[in-house]
Amino acid sequence: MYPRAFHYHRARSLEQASSLLAELGEEAKVLAGGQSLIPLMKLRLASPGHLVDLNFVPGLSYVEQNDGEIRSGALTRHAEIESSPVAQQIPILYDCASGIADVQVRNRGTLGGSLAEADPSGDWAPVLLTLSTAVRCVGPQGERTIPLSKFFLDAYTTALGPAELVSEVVVQIPPKNSGGAYLAFKRCAPVYATASVAVHLTVEDKDICKDARIALGAVGLTAIRAQQAEAALRGQAFTKKSIDAAAEAAHAAAEPQSDMRGSAEYKRGLVGALVKRAIEIALRRSRGERVEVSHIYV
């Protein structure tokens, strides 16, 4: 299968890529890892006349720690995050990076590309929404920083301007006594999740929940922050009652559609179950326990 013929532009810097996008207009798309874009082009669901390739821009691939934050370049591949000792300090980042699709896709797919594509089933969005994350961007008007909570506007639609690109993703390192978990439930490795849940908890003495962030993936047009579910935990002890209340609120917050991955009702049920499981793992991790989880295959 072949995409429509396109003109190829190899950018040497993000600024140059941005000028090319401004000049070429709507016919141009950005090529990062290409693991979504190339299949879409081969199926002719996307048929750009121009591709601006970022893969030869130097210095866009890194994971660094500085002043309580982790900064990753837009072109950092999922596999680089998976093997980065910096990212491994935050187990939820490792859960996500090590489970996206399969090895081959993780070797190519990028963090910046995943966020900029804004696929409703993308893995990074729910995970990073449970942490304090900002997206740094470069465009014709220069640089700006967008909080991730304001980045996704709709399915496949972000706050990025037409000639604007993600340059870096900045994640605040969560406080001590906190822990998170990401669970994505899927049919097999290379496919998107049927539903996914990210939970990050900050725990006070005697197992009282100081703060909770819960986000749902693949069950709405964008990743969904389940704020009622968070409220059900905040200030409470982690008991069966509070965890059940959080799961019920998350079940209600999901906005799934029936499709080949499952019926809407099935996905809602899945969300409730995954939230309970993720809370338990996040809680154990907040106590310093090592728990290995990642994407779950049916």
């Binding site: 299968m1 003109h7 190339i38 390739d53 893969n55 399969d102 090895v103 490795a189 290379p190 496919v191």
Partner: protein, 161 residues
């Protein structure tokens, strides 16, 4: 009406040998290997980035060559199944796949060999779980995977000696 698309000069090292070509931007890496270089060991399976039959190593990382444009491999190094054998000797993974019946029809084998090769370079002594995860992007419809697991375990052992 067709407009002229500029071809792009690329330089790629494949299995240790340098090649220079001018390619159309939409040429996929798998077709570059198969059609331009006549290296037909790399197979096209699903053509939608699912099955992993087209897996090759690009700059030491396994990739699905049906989901990479040849222009993206410019200045890069590619390893295909043809490059595994050295001086007439099968690579230990190839030998182990033969010894342990790790294939039946053989269609998925080139991709599985490269995925396994990528794994053993990064992790010479993988657990069974790690092997399973490493080949999760390679579909085999004949073997049921058991003999593939055995083959990779045996290759890891023989390479570790």
């Amino acid at each position: 009406m067709s407009e002229t698309i500029e071809r792009v000069p690329i330089r790629v090292t494949v299995n240790g040998k340098g090649y220079q070509r001018e390619v159309e931007p939409r040429l996929l890496l798998v077709d570059f290997l198969r059609e331009e270089l006549d290296l037909t060991g790399t197979h096209i399976g699903c053509d939608t980035s699912y099955c992993g039959a087209c897996t090759v190593l690009l700059n030491e990382a396994s990739v699905k060559s049906c989901t990479v444009f040849a222009v993206q491999a410019d200045q890069g190094e590619v390893l295909t199944v043809e490059g595994l054998e050295q001086d007439g000797h099968l690579h230990p993974l190839q030998q182990a796949f033969a010894d342990h019946y790790g294939l039946q029809c053989g269609y998925c084998t080139p991709g599985l060999l490269l995925s396994a090769c990528h794994l053993l370079v990064k992790n010479p002594h993988p657990t069974e779980q790690q092997i399973r995860k490493a080949i999760a992007g390679n579909t085999c419809r004949c073997t049921g995977y058991q003999n593939i697991l055995k083959a990779i375990q045996a290759a890891a052992q023989s390479m570790g000696k």
